[in-house]
């Protein structure tokens, strides 16, 4: 593995860890109460990427995530894919049908819940998000690696 790619993978891991720190902020703030002052601002920022409906958040004891189960699944799926990329399981993006399929499953779940065919399930929402997140991440990350190799080359 070239230095530039290792650097990109480590940078992505760092960004993901930071991001998970933000979406798990109430848990983080339970260890560092002084950070609690930032919660409304982080809440406001995260409201851009998730509706944050309190009924749909994942709860860990008395704390809950800052994003809904579906979004949490998407980001966790992305993190899982990054781990797989790290152990070199993927060198090219998966087939387009896989992206279309996982998108269809997620959108179907959203639609069926909204028209009242069945009730919202955090587990379902999490799984559909996880599937799309893990495939979608590869569609974003692998071209980024190709771009870095194209521009910087293999040396670092």
């Amino acid at each position: 593995m070239s230095g530039s790619i290792l650097f990109l993978r480590l940078s992505c891991s760092f960004v993901l860890v930071l991001f998970f720190g933000l979406i798990m902020f109430p848990v983080v703030a339970s260890f560092l109460p002084e950070l609690g002052l930032f919660k409304p601002f982080i809440d406001n920022g995260i409201s851009n990427i998730c509706h944050q409906d309190s009924q749909k958040l994942i709860e860990f004891g008395q704390y809950s995530t800052m994003v809904c189960a579906r979004c949490f699944g998407i980001y966790l799926g992305g993190a899982a894919s990054l781990v797989l990329v790290f152990i070199s399981c993927f060198s090219d993006v998966p087939r387009l049908k896989l992206l279309a399929g996982t998108s269809f499953i997620l959108l179907s779940d959203v639609l069926l819940v909204n028209i009242g065919v069945y009730n919202y399930s955090k587990t379902f929402a999490f799984i559909t998000g996880f599937l799309l997140g893990s495939v979608g991440f590869l569609y974003f990350y692998i071209p980024l690696e190709k771009f870095i190799i194209e521009k910087i080359g293999n040396q670092f």
């Binding site: 002052l37 851009n48 190709k146």
Partner: protein
């Protein structure tokens, strides 16, 4: 101009969707990447560019789409706030104040934060405009939309190149 037109059109569309109440929640993580993909598609269709398109071009188009979406989204939000003299901040103020009360920090800090947000809400209710609020939503929109536009550009380039091979 012809080069940025696809990003401008797609960004404008995303900006419009970002102020419609139902689609608002999806604006950043769903609509902006879709707009970036649409911008790349427009680049192929309107400007007659033949795939495969370079990844760097997808990144630039995606970023531009995100930036335009943020600009139009912020602009429309400010205009609507000016007309209606209310927005999410004013409506959610009591809950926000309650959230501050529950925070494990000193009373002085809590009061400062509550006063600052209260002043913004007052300005919006009276004049329909708050510079601090505009800056805050503008910053948020530009940051998140640029990131998701970038992601959409990278995803879009793969989709378009694969489909039009």
């Amino acid at each position: 101009m012809k080069k940025i037109l696809p990003a401008l059109v797609a960004g404008f569309g995303a900006g419009v969707f970002s102020i419609i109440p139902i689609t608002k929640a999806l604006a950043c993580c769903f609509i902006v990447p879709l707009a970036a993909i649409a911008a790349i598609y427009l680049q192929v269709r309107v400007n007659g560019e033949i795939p495969p398109i370079a990844i760097s071009k997808g990144i630039v188009l995606g970023l531009l789409t995100g930036i335009f979406a943020a600009f139009f989204g912020t602009l429309f939000d400010v205009i609507i706030t000016m007309i209606t003299k209310t927005n999410d901040l004013v409506e959610g103020l009591p809950q926000m104040q309650q959230a501050f009360q529950d925070l494990p920090v000193s009373d002085e800090l809590k009061q400062q934060a509550i006063d600052m947000i209260g002043a913004m809400a007052d300005e919006i209710s009276e004049k329909g405009f708050s510079l601090l609020y505009t800056f805050s939503i503008g910053f948020n929109n530009f940051l998140f939309d640029a990131i998701f536009g970038f992601i959409g550009g990278l995803i879009g380039i793969q989709i378009i190149n694969k489909r039009m091979k």
